[in-house]
Symmetry: C2
Subunit: 484 residues, 2 copies
C-alpha cells in the first residue's frame, strides 16, 4: 500500500464529502424559512464540514494514481464512511435527541437508501430534518448508481462485469463516453424525480410531501414525512403513482441511459427486467387475491395495497400503506422472502437482485441437464451474452456470503435479546437495504426507535455491507489486501 494511493483516496472522498456538506444548506434554508432553530445546526455543520473537507482536499491533492483494484476497493469504503459521518452530524447535533449509534444508523439508513428510521413523530418534525433525510437518500441513490455503473464492474464484484460499459474503446473515447453517460444519467434521475413529485402532487400530496417522497422513491429509500408512511394519505390513486415510480426506479439505469442515448428499444430486452417485472406481478397478484379471499376487502383495494406493498419490498423502497403483516401468514412469509430478492442491478434497489436470479436459473437448468448427460457442454446465457464460469463463481461467492451475513446478523440480534421474527427479518432488511421487517417492533407498523444501540450498530454494518455488494467491504479483511 503506497502513500499516493491513500492520498488520492482521501482526496476524492474529501471532494465527495464537500458536495454532501454543501447539501446541508438546503435544510438550513428550510428551517430558517419556518423559523426553526435547527437552521443553525445545518448551517454550522455545513460550514464546519465544508471547511474541513476543503482543507483535506487541498492537503491531499496531487496527480491521480493508476486505477488498481486495491485503489477501487479502498476508495469505495472510505467514500461511504465519509458519507456516513457527514450524514450523521446534523442528526446528532439537531434538536431531536439521538444517541451516537442512532444518529449513525439514521445516516447509514439514508445514504444506503434503506429507509428504516429511529425517529418518531415525523409528522411534527421541523422541515430541515425531514429534508436532510430525503436528501441523503436521494444523493445516496446517485452514489450507488454511479458505483454500480462505473466502479463495481471494474472490480468484478459479485459477477457484475457484464454491466461494464464498453471498455474496449480508447481511453479518451471512454472518458467522453463516460461524461455523456453521466450527463444522461443525471438528466434521467432528475427527470424521474420531477415526474414523480408532480405525480404525487397531482394525486393529492402537499408540495413538501411530494418533493420529499419523490426523493426517497426514485432512490428506493423509503423515508417518509409521516409515521404512517403512505398510510397517512388514504388514497388509492396515490398508491398506484408510487407503485409505478418504485418499479421504474428498480429498473437498470444503464438500460434507460442507452435508451436515451441510442434510441434503441431493443435494450429493454434485458432479461433481468422481464424477471423483475415477472416476479413482482406474480407475487403481488397472489398476495392481493389471497388477501381478498381471506378478508372482506374488495378485490380492487386488495390488489392496490398488495401491488404497492410488494413493489415496495421488491424495489427495496420500504414504504407501507398498511400493516400487511395483519393480512395473515401467507403475506408475512411472502414479505419475508421478498426482502431477500431485490430489484435490478444498475438501479438504486438493493437485495440479491434480479440479474443474479436470472443467472442462477440458467445455472440450475444447466446443472440438472448435466446430471443426465455429464459430458454435455451446458452454456449459461444472459440474454445474448454467455455467462463465463468466472462470473458464475462470483455470483455464488456473493450469494454464499450474503446468506452467511444474514445468519450472523440474525444470531447477533438474537443474542442482543430480539425475538426470532425481529432478528431474522431485521438482519435481512438491513442487508438488502429494504427498511421494514416483520414482527411487532420493526414491522411495517413499527420503527427502529426502541432498538438498542448495539443492535443498531449491527444493522448499520449490515446496511453498508449490503449496499456495497458485500465483497467490496469483506475484501478489506483479507490480509493479502494490505500487503505490498
Amino acid at each position: 500500500m503506497n502513500a499516493t494511493l491513500f492520498r488520492s483516496v482521501l482526496h476524492i472522498s474529501a471532494l465527495c464529502g464537500l458536495y454532501l456538506s454543501a447539501a446541508m444548506f438546503v435544510p438550513a434554508m428550510a428551517d430558517l424559512y419556518v423559523g426553526h432553530p435547527d437552521w443553525q445546526v445545518f448551517a454550522m455543520s455545513g460550514i464546519l464540514c465544508g471547511g474541513i473537507f476543503t482543507l483535506a482536499a487541498v492537503a491531499t491533492s496531487g496527480p491521480p494514481p493508476v486505477f488498481t483494484r486495491r485503489f477501487g476497493f479502498l476508495l469505495v469504503n472510505v467514500m461511504w464512511t465519509t458519507f456516513t459521518i457527514v450524514g450523521a452530524i446534523p442528526f446528532y447535533l439537531s434538536s431531536y435527541d439521538l444517541t451516537l449509534a442512532q444518529a449513525v444508523f439514521e445516516s447509514v439508513s439514508g445514504i444506503t437508501t434503506t429507509g428504516g428510521t429511529v425517529l418518531v413523530g415525523l409528522d411534527n418534525l421541523p422541515p430541515g430534518l425531514l429534508l436532510w433525510r430525503s436528501l441523503i437518500v436521494w444523493l445516496g441513490g446517485i452514489g450507488i448508481v454511479g458505483l454500480g455503473l462505473f466502479i463495481l464492474p471494474d472490480l468484478r464484484v459479485g459477477g457484475l462485469s457484464f454491466f461494464k460499459l464498453e471498455s474496449s474503446d480508447t481511453s479518451e473515447k471512454t472518458f467522453s463516453r463516460l461524461a455523456s453517460f453521466t450527463r444522461a444519467f443525471m438528466a434521467i434521475y432528475f427527470g424521474i424525480t420531477l415526474a414523480c413529485a408532480i405525480g404525487y402532487a397531482w394525486a393529492g400530496m402537499s408540495v413538501f410531501d411530494a418533493v420529499n417522497h419523490a426523493f426517497t422513491t426514485v432512490a428506493t429509500g423509503g423515508y417518509s414525512t409521516h409515521d404512517a408512511s403512505f398510510g397517512y394519505f388514504q388514497s388509492l390513486p396515490l398508491l398506484w403513482v408510487a407503485t409505478f415510480f418504485m418499479t421504474i426506479s428498480s429498473l437498470p439505469f444503464s438500460v434507460m441511459i442507452l435508451l436515451a442515448l441510442r434510441k434503441r428499444i431493443s435494450v429493454l430486452r434485458d432479461p433481468q427486467i422481464l424477471a423483475f417485472l415477472g416476479y413482482l406481478t406474480v407475487l403481488s397478484t397472489l398476495v392481493g387475491i389471497h388477501h381478498h379471499l381471506t378478508s372482506d376487502v374488495e378485490i380492487g383495494q386488495a390488489l392496490t395495497h398488495a401491488f404497492f406493498n410488494i413493489s415496495s419490498l421488491l424495489s427495496t423502497t420500504g414504504f407501507a400503506s398498511q400493516d400487511y403483516t395483519l393480512w395473515g401468514p401467507f403475506a408475512v412469509t411472502v414479505a419475508f422472502f421478498a426482502t431477500f430478492i431485490g430489484g435490478c442491478t444498475g438501479s438504486t434497489a438493493g437485495g440479491i437482485k434480479a440479474y443474479r436470479f436470472v443467472v442462477l436459473y440458467g445455472v440450475v437448468r444447466a446443472g440438472l441437464q448435466r446430471l443426465i448427460y455429464p459430458s454435455s457442454i451446458a452454456i449459461v446465457r444472459y440474454g445474448r451474452h454467455t455467462v463465463e464460469p468466472e462470473v458464475q463463481r462470483s455470483i455464488f461467492l456473493f450469494l454464499a456470503l450474503y446468506m452467511l451475513l444474514w445468519a450472523l446478523g440474525a444470531i447477533a440480534l438474537g443474542a442482543l435479546g430480539y425475538d426470532v421474527a425481529t432478528a431474522l427479518s431485521g438482519s435481512i432488511t438491513s442487508l438488502s437495504n429494504v427498511g421494514p421487517g416483520i414482527g411487532t417492533i420493526i414491522g411495517p407498523a413499527g420503527n427502529f426507535s426502541t432498538i438498542s444501540d448495539p443492535a443498531l450498530n449491527v444493522m448499520s454494518a449490515l446496511m453498508l455491507l449490503g449496499r456495497l455488494e458485500v465483497l467490496t467491504v469483506l475484501v478489506l479483511l483479507v490480509p493479502v489486501f494490505w500487503r505490498d
Copy 2:
C-alpha cells in the same frame, strides 16, 4: 426409457420392499407378547406386503441392465416411494386413528430419519407401533448410508463424487471390495446400535426404551417412546451418553469403515470431521454459557443441556431434553440456523452437511483472493484432494435448490395458515430431516399432531427431497430425463 430399465427398477424395489415387510413381524411379535390386538395389523400387513412384493419380484426378474444414471435416479426414487408406502400401511391400519396424510407423514418421517411425529401419548402406545417407528428409522438409516456410499457418488449428485470408493479397480475386485465394505458397514452400524443401547440401559433406561432410542440415535432419527423425548428421563449422564452417540452417528461411515478395514488412523483427518466437531463445540458452548448467564441454571447443567440439544439439531436427530426455545432469543436463532447445517456426508445425518461448508469456505477464500489478484489460480482443496470446478458447481447447484425449496416450502406453509416461525422452521426442519422446529406448534415441546393434512403433505415432500439430496428427485422433472 426402455422396458428392461423399468422392470429392473421395480425388481430391486420389490426386493427392498420385501425386506421391509419382513420387519413387520418384529412389532407383530411385540404386540402379541403384550396381548395388544395390533399384532394382527402387523402380521396381516407383513403377509400381504410380503406376498405382493414376492409376486412383483418374481414377475419382474430378469437380467440386470447396465448401470446408467437414468437407472440410478429412477431406482432411488422408486425405492424410497416403496419404503414410504410399506412404512405407512401399519400406521394407517393400526388402532391409532390416523388420516392417510398423517400415516404417510409418520412413515416418511421415519424412513427419512427425520423423527417429527403426528402421534401423541407415546408413553401409552402399544409396543408394536413404537417398535415399528424405531425400526423404519433404523432401516432408513441403513438405506441412506448405502445410498450415500454406493449410489449418489456415481450419480454425481451435489458434489459427492469424492466419496466414491476407489472405482479404478477392476469390476471383480470392486465387487468383492463392495461386499467387504457392506459387511464392515453393517458390523459397525450394529455395533454402534448395541453399544448405544447398552449405554442407555446403563444410564437408566428400561431395555425397551434403550433399544428403541438406540435405533433412532444411530440413525439420527429422533423418534422417542415418550412425548417429552429425553426430558422424560431427567438424567444428566443419559444426556451425555446420547450426545456421544448422536455425534458418532453424524461422522462419515466411510471413514469408520476404512478405519476398521485398513487400521489407518490417518483417515480420521477428513476435514469435514474437524469442521463438524468444531461448529458443534462452538455453538453448544456459546448457547450453554449464554443460558447460564441469563438464568439461574448452574453452568454444568446449562452446558449439558446445550450440548445435548445442539448436537441433537446438528446431527439432525431431533431429540429434546427441554424446551430450549424458552432459553431466550439467542438459543432460538441458533437453533433455527442449526437446522440448516447438518452433520457429515456418508452418515445418517441430513442438512447441508459439513463437507459442503468445508468446500464453501475454500471457495470463499479463493474468491476473495481473486478479487485482489484476478489472474491468480486459486485452487480449492478438500484435505489432500483438489475440488474440481465441476464439483464446486454441483455444490452450488445443491445449495441454490436447497434454499429455493426452503423458501417455497415456507411460503406454502404460510399460505396454509401457519405462523411465520412455524412456516420458516417447519420447512427447513423437514428438508434437513431434523424433526423439531421453533414456535409453539412444532417446537421442541410440540409435535405435528395438529398440523393439517395439506401441510403434512408439503412437509412429507420436503423430507423426501432433502433425504435424497434434492437433485436426485428434481432431475425427474427435467423433460430430457424421460426422452430416449
